[in-house]
Symmetry: C2
Subunit: 397 residues, 2 copies
């Protein structure tokens, strides 16, 4: 078994403090998240490895990029290959060959965005798989079984993610259900963890809902934070609402979250949104944008997004981003990457995904430095101004 | 410019002896090919990087796999991105970030297999691009211009590759044309190289044709070898003829090729064929099989080809090939790679292409060792017996 690097996990490392603050500047803060698979400097960006692979990238690439934590999806993994298969193969870390920290999302968002013929009741959700139409049922207890079998370092409670827009009544009902399910998730996880523990702790985070209604967000935050989770997530944002409304809702919500636990803004990862949320005190981010954009030829650069298939790059010997130090920018020209995309060569999506993840990782690293210098505000203003001023319209999936 | 590793090429390295023999065992031999971008131990397997990328793999991967030489295609590269674009970006090596030896095929085979509305005359071929139908014309002189602009270390003369089956008359006409075009290719290349030299030599190889007709093969070999090429290729095989006929034709042809120049069997790369051809004195091979099979889920293993999507691998924690030491086999299980293919994740084709290239590289390395021990025959018999005995039927593109 020792051919697998990822099997070398600490077996008795149970850090008592999950997250510690290092520095703060206004609401923005830096810290360190400790897990059984290593530490994560926050603010941190987690690339999305939905099906136990960050599309097109290997764990070695992610290490090289100084990615410190990944996200995977309980919903997708229970469908393929099934959580018991993953457990039998040593859990997610061993299965995918990544020995760093992993967070699994509970599937609340996916059930509401991907599954069909959804019927919700107070106990859970019945739905059909987006792959083959098989009928499945998720309850908080069932989802905790799945996440326990996968063995991630941080697992999310099962939530009801209201769409945008929705009526205040629907938003209130979803927030109420989310609170009940959070309590049941916590109770279930405690039972399961005691029965079949991994050699590392699985930290459970609660999710705040409430759509864009300040009163509901405050109520949801108070109920969720009263339950004693290891961290708190802000769900139900970046689902189509205007940016200002997202930031206002974020302000209202973060104000209710305790300062001594990590705060995770789910699904947010456009660079400008990450900068804005870091200023507001968010510690963790995830988003498919770097890899999804990377697959379609959209590159993040310090001067905005560019489409690498643009004809002006035909003989351009410069790297994708002149200020980026990633291996792709050190090695290949825009002209070459354009050629790969024009020729539909699979190396193109890989190289651009690599660069885009580097871009997000660099962004949070710069933010941490700015916070620690006490210059978060000015840094964020300069960064965003430059990024947004020059942005070109890019078709993104 | 020094951010590009590949720019560091020797500027005054002009090895006077292109290929030197090291050892021989019967007809089989080992040697070393010297180029301005480094040495290549022969017998060698060249992965195919048609469009200046070995599909799914980076130059770093290929180095790590101890690949020593790549093949790229003049036909494809003149269509996309165009040889002048490649030249403007520093040539193929700089363009694709590979600082090792490269061989370009002349497009003879591609014009006859991919292009449409082909009209052949004694001077050249007029055809339509398989991409957009543009009318193009290849003559020996035009193809040498393309290959000179690309800047590979070894370039192939322009040939007329007869299909299989074909009449003896057609085979004779194609062989005759190939001989005329070989002479014109050589004259053209000498003129071009004198006019616009790269800092490294471009060695020119002639191609022997003649279908499966022994008399034609012998005549073609005599005419081609009389022209003073740096190396000799055997074209027009592995185009649909039965294996025995391929090997008989190979025997007839190799007997006519001088022992002091490298011999290249074009387009052959199925493991069992590589073993058989090495025994007959072939030094260089190329084939899309490792990467094409890798993309479709077919894995080369020492016990034959296997389909990684096979249900028996669902929870199989073993590597693709138990005896393979490549990074993929050291890191991931069959179960994980099966999951990637079942989920249509792009990492699957990448990892399996990597392993399959490792398999061919290991195969030629084993062959070299066997030849140097004087055990080529017994080694080949053992190797083939094991590989072919256990092979399962695998769907391959």
């Amino acid at each position: 078994m020792d051919r697998k690097v990822q099997r070398r996990v600490p077996t008795a490392y149970l850090p008592s403090v999950h997250w510690e603050s290092i520095a703060s500047d206004g609401a923005a803060r830096t810290g360190v998240l400790r897990t059984g698979h290593g530490a994560v400097r926050t603010p941190a960006f987690m690339p999305v490895g939905t099906l136990a692979t960050v599309k097109g990238l290997e764990p070695r690439d992610l290490r090289e990029l100084e990615v410190e934590m990944l996200l995977a999806n309980a919903y997708h993994l229970t469908l393929r290959p099934g959580e018991e298969t993953v457990r039998a193969l040593g859990g997610l870390h061993a299965f995918m060959g990544w020995d760093g920290p992993i967070l699994t999302d509970s599937g609340g968002f996916q059930v509401f965005s991907l599954a069909s013929q959804r019927r919700i009741d107070e106990d859970g959700v019945t739905f059909r798989s987006h792959i083959d139409g098989t009928e499945l049922r998720f309850t908080p207890e069932r989802v905790m079984e799945i996440e326990a079998a996968l063995g991630a370092d941080v697992v999310m409670a099962f939530d009801d993610c209201a769409p945008y827009p929705c009526s205040e009544g629907d938003a209130a009902a979803a927030a109420e259900r989310t609170a009940c399910w959070a309590e049941r998730s916590k109770a279930a996880m405690e039972t399961i963890a005691a029965r079949e523990p991994w050699p590392w702790p699985q930290r459970l985070y609660g999710i705040v809902q409430g759509s864009v209604v300040p009163r509901l967000r405050r109520e949801s935050a108070r109920r969720i934070t009263s339950l004693g989770f290891d961290g708190h997530a802000i769900g139900g944002l970046s689902v189509g609402e205007p940016k200002e409304l997202m930031l206002e809702t974020l302000d209202v919500t973060v104000a209710e979250l305790p300062a001594d636990r990590p705060r995770y803004l789910m699904g947010v990862g456009f660079p400008e949104d990450v900068v804005a949320a870091i200023l507001r005190g968010v510690d963790l981010f995830d988003c498919v944008a770097p890899t999804r954009h990377g697959r379609t030829g959209a590159a993040f650069t310090r001067e905005g997004r560019v489409n690498v298939e643009n004809a002006r790059f035909t003989t351009d010997d410069a790297p994708i981003d002149q200020e980026c130090g990633c291996r792709v920018c050190r090695t290949w020209s825009r002209a070459y990457i354009r050629h790969l995309f024009r020729s539909r060569e699979m190396l193109g999506p890989r190289l651009l995904s690599y660069h885009n993840v580097a871009f997000l990782v660099d962004l949070v690293a710069e933010a941490r430095e700015a916070i620690e210098r006490g210059e978060a505000g000015p840094w964020a203003a300069r960064w965003s101004q430059r990024y947004l001023a020059a942005a070109e319209e890019v078709p993104c999936a």
